[in-house]
Symmetry: C2
Subunit: 555 residues, 2 copies
């Protein structure tokens, strides 16, 4: 073992909720053999990433070291753990991807969608089976979460065992899938654990976590007491919740209709992989349209207020032949993710205008989190009894709080945001290196860097508007006519009348006064035209627009 | 009284939190004499109003009827009640504006800032004084809220008394300003009240409201136990909270420093108008920089994570010579307004990176709301005992819930979103008319309509990028050279290489193939060039950009 070391390097997920990607390495410094746990996405927002479709971790470091990458492991099928797999796989040197059956099913879809070979995803059984990957032996330890077949990773290395919880909660009655099995966890901890890499998202929630099963009776009561149509939304991947909702509807004598592609896909995956065996029979939207509304329950996508999802479309009017009416009930069996409040409130207020009774997430009666709350994190620490706790998956404030919590209870700990390479070999974690990390945007079909300036330009146009100036210079170097101006996203009228007229007047004046030296110099001419637009616009409308200048030289 | 009627018409605030503007009228149908209560703003967001500075109610209806407007009354000095006064005053025909002293002080500043005559704001004493305004007699009834000298309006009309609560809570120990005076309210209700126009913002909060005074001991304990610097943020206008915070700091032996223009302005206004008499002595930021950090407490603006406010600047680094360090404490003595979560979390995570301990709004121990919770709304209904309750100030879901609540307790009620004119004359409210309403944007110095398409174009550029095409057509109607293309906010590289090259190639092909008829027709030519850019871009990068085409015809 001489100079060999065990390293941990988060490329995504440590400093944010979402976009999980964690590298582990073992070997001589700078030549460690590597494995990657998860490769997820995060979602854009209008404030910082307008027009972007998806956000991936920047895997440049991993790409540069892909000859050292032994394998990829996917812990569960949430988008923030598997969503980037198909998009980034080709940059990683075709490693084998390991996952359990349900997760692997989704991972293969992700590969196929991007034209990658789905056969590169290998299905593995949980512990005691283990996969050899270079110096690592890796096992999938089932754990409860909000999607079927979630697993934590048990990673054996020559420097000891590492347990990577991935997302988890401690739930002994999870409705679908495996209950949290304390004995199996104690067994996994028995050999001694060098490091526990641990979910941090709910570290600020101080009450104990609640079981998925605790919702059934509340939801049943709600559905049974509702008149009119009942619509419920939750995350498409929360198969257990969908089952609870569907069973409540079924018992109340309602036909169940799934709306939204993602939801149908997840239920199909769960049925095909044997995870889900007794989901109530569903009807199609076409059939639903002819069922009396008090005999009908819709399960729909769009719990986060997404504009194109089923819930937003229903709130705006008719969707797939179904229309909500006064007296219907709409249940958010979900939590609003910070940042999505505006979209969710938009949907709720539109429903209110129709006269629909909305049960939102403020009651806490119809939703439980899939993540471990603070007391459950403490319990996890104490089951695994690691030498050190490394908080992962969470905003910086969560990582920091989790590290504090671990230290206060006698564990060594470190805050390691994305790009922080830790050496986990000794008594306590040490920062080994800082690696350049960041984000890659999927923009349409192009992948662009977060720092390329493209999205920054879009934000500037959105804030400031855009003015275009064209000027033709003839063969003799003289202006041919006057500069033209077009505006987009700017008020048409300024202090002294039409904005374009004011701009063109001042541009013409500038060109009229410009000497031959300026007229002959594209840079100077462009700069002068730009400055004129910005100054005149500021005087007229109090804004300095973005300016694009096109100078056409004839001959 | 024959055909005369009493009408109510919200132009803003009914269907949203913010932008309050309520019209009351009395007289013959269509010729009612009018008064306006409040004229506030709401704030833009990147999702729907990028680049906009402020949002006002559209007062076109009031402008068209300004010869009927008798007076304007401002209930309190919050931006969402007085912020649009200076911006819209000139459109209202120079009515007299009435307010109490502190509110009037701020209203005059708003008038001055926009070049209006501050002397048009008249200061009035609260009840029993009343102002005559056409058929109305209007009195200011003090009420507790989160800013000094808030008032409800008691509006006497030939059709009976109307009470417009404005924003309020029931607080008998408000720290600064007048306690809620139940006797005065009962007195006001005695003659019988035809309609109660009532704040709805907290109708979903089912616990009883808490007093401002209940915070003092919690805040004192927190400050006393803190080592390092203490920074607290709250709304600049919450003078009572600032006093509580400053006194806690003072008692812990700390010098108090106010940072942020809005905060200093509010404290000055409170001192000048006699509302605030015993605020602890403050030091300037320059003095503060030389005070040991554990003897210092900063009160700063930016509780909503605003990028340019003091709290965001401190979180990013140094501000006015002061720098936060590990071990300092940062208190959000405020609630995050829905929609502002991302900005607030950004600040909290930046503070976490510095090592600052953040006390956020999740504990509920260091902030109380200024609005009446559900039990306090019930109490207000029962004190005033009106014939009808008209919920105002709130999103649609809040108005709807408040109307339900009132009806369930035996009061007539109506949901009247912006633009809904109610006739309040009879036993129950009746919808009299729907008036065109909307929003006006302050964009730089220009006022633009929400539906003008300007902001829509900006959003499109932000989502899709912008491509510019220029083409010169010579005197003979032939293309002079090939079309040029520039892009902004678009990836530089597509499937087949540089995007601009692919675009220009296809544009040249289009022009080469275009017949003389197309070349001679600006509309057809422009349409063809635009379609070419959108198709080629979609093939190359999977996006269809906004396109501006400039065709220059020589001669």
């Amino acid at each position: 073992m001489s100079g060999d070391r065990l390293i941990y390097l988060p490329l995504g997920g440590a400093g944010e909720v979402g976009m999980n990607a964690y590298v582990f390495g073992y070997g001589p410094k700078g030549a460690e053999r590597l494995i990657l746990v998860d490769l997820g996405v995060t979602f854009p927002d209008m404030d910082t990433t307008p027009g972007v479709d998806l956000i991936f971790p920047d895997v440049a470091w991993l790409e540069a070291n892909r000859d050292r990458l032994e394998a990829v492991f996917i812990t569960h099928a949430h988008e923030d753990h598997v969503g980037a797999l198909g998009h980034l796989y080709h940059r990683l040197g075709a490693p084998t991807v390991y996952a359990r059956a349900f997760t692997g099913h989704i991972a293969r879809l992700k590969m196929e969608e991007r034209g990658r070979d789905p056969a590169r995803v290998k299905i593995v059984e949980p512990l005691p089976d283990m996969v050899e990957a270079g110096p690592f032996r890796v096992g999938f330890l089932p754990v409860s979460h909000s999607i079927p077949e979630s697993a934590s990773m048990v990673i054996d290395t020559p420097a000891g065992r590492v347990v990577h919880t991935a997302d988890f909660k401690i739930d002994v009655t999870p409705v679908v899938g495996e209950a949290f099995d304390a004995a199996a966890w104690e067994e996994a901890a028995k050999p001694g654990v060098q490091a526990l890499i641990c979910d941090s998202t709910n570290v600020f929630v101080s009450r104990p976590g609640r079981s998925e099963a605790s919702l059934a009776s509340e939801i049943e009561t709600l559905v049974a007491e509702s008149t009119g149509m009942v619509v419920a939304t939750t995350f498409a991947s929360n198969v257990a919740r969908l089952k609870t909702l569907a069973e409540a509807g079924s018992r109340a004598g309602r036909s169940i209709c799934l709306m939204g592609r993602a939801m149908r896909q997840m239920i199909e995956a769960a049925v095909q992989t044997g995870v889900l065996t007794d989901f109530p029979r569903t009807v199609s939207p076409e059939e639903a349209a002819s069922i009396p509304r008090d005999n009908l329950m819709l399960l729909v996508t769009g719990s986060q207020g997404e504009r194109r999802a089923a819930s937003a479309q229903l709130a705006r009017g008719k969707y797939q032949g179904i229309e909500l009416k006064e007296g219907d009930t709409f249940l958010f069996s979900s939590k609003t993710i910070p940042g999505n409040e505006r979209g969710v409130l938009r949907v709720i207020n539109q429903l209110s205008e129709i006269g629909v009774d909305v049960i939102d997430d403020s009651t806490d009666r119809y939703h439980v989190s899939g993540h471990a709350n603070r007391p459950d994190l403490e319990r996890m620490h104490d089951i695994v009894k690691p030498r050190m706790v490394i908080p992962m998956h969470g905003e910086h404030r969560m990582l920091r709080e989790h590290a504090k919590l671990a230290r206060s209870r006698g564990y060594a700990a470190a805050i390691a945001p994305n790009g922080t390479m830790l050496d986990l070999t000794g008594e306590a974690p040490k920062v080994a290196e800082h690696v350049e990390t960041g984000r890659t945007y999927l923009d349409g079909t192009a992948q662009i860097g977060a720092l390329d300036g493209i999205v920054r330009d879009r934000i500037r146009m959105a804030l400031n508007g855009h003015a275009l100036v064209t000027l033709i210079i003839d063969e003799d170097g003289d202006p041919l006519g006057e500069p033209w101006c077009e505006i987009m996203g700017l008020p048409e009228t300024g202090r002294s009348g039409a904005l374009v007229e004011s701009l063109e007047e001042d541009l013409a004046q500038f060109v009229g006064r410009a000497g031959r030296k300026v007229l002959a110099d594209d840079d100077k001419l462009e700069e002068g035209l730009r400055r004129t637009v910005r100054n005149t616009a500021f005087n007229e409308i109090g804004k300095k627009p973005e300016v694009t200048v096109v100078i056409s030289r004839l001959g």
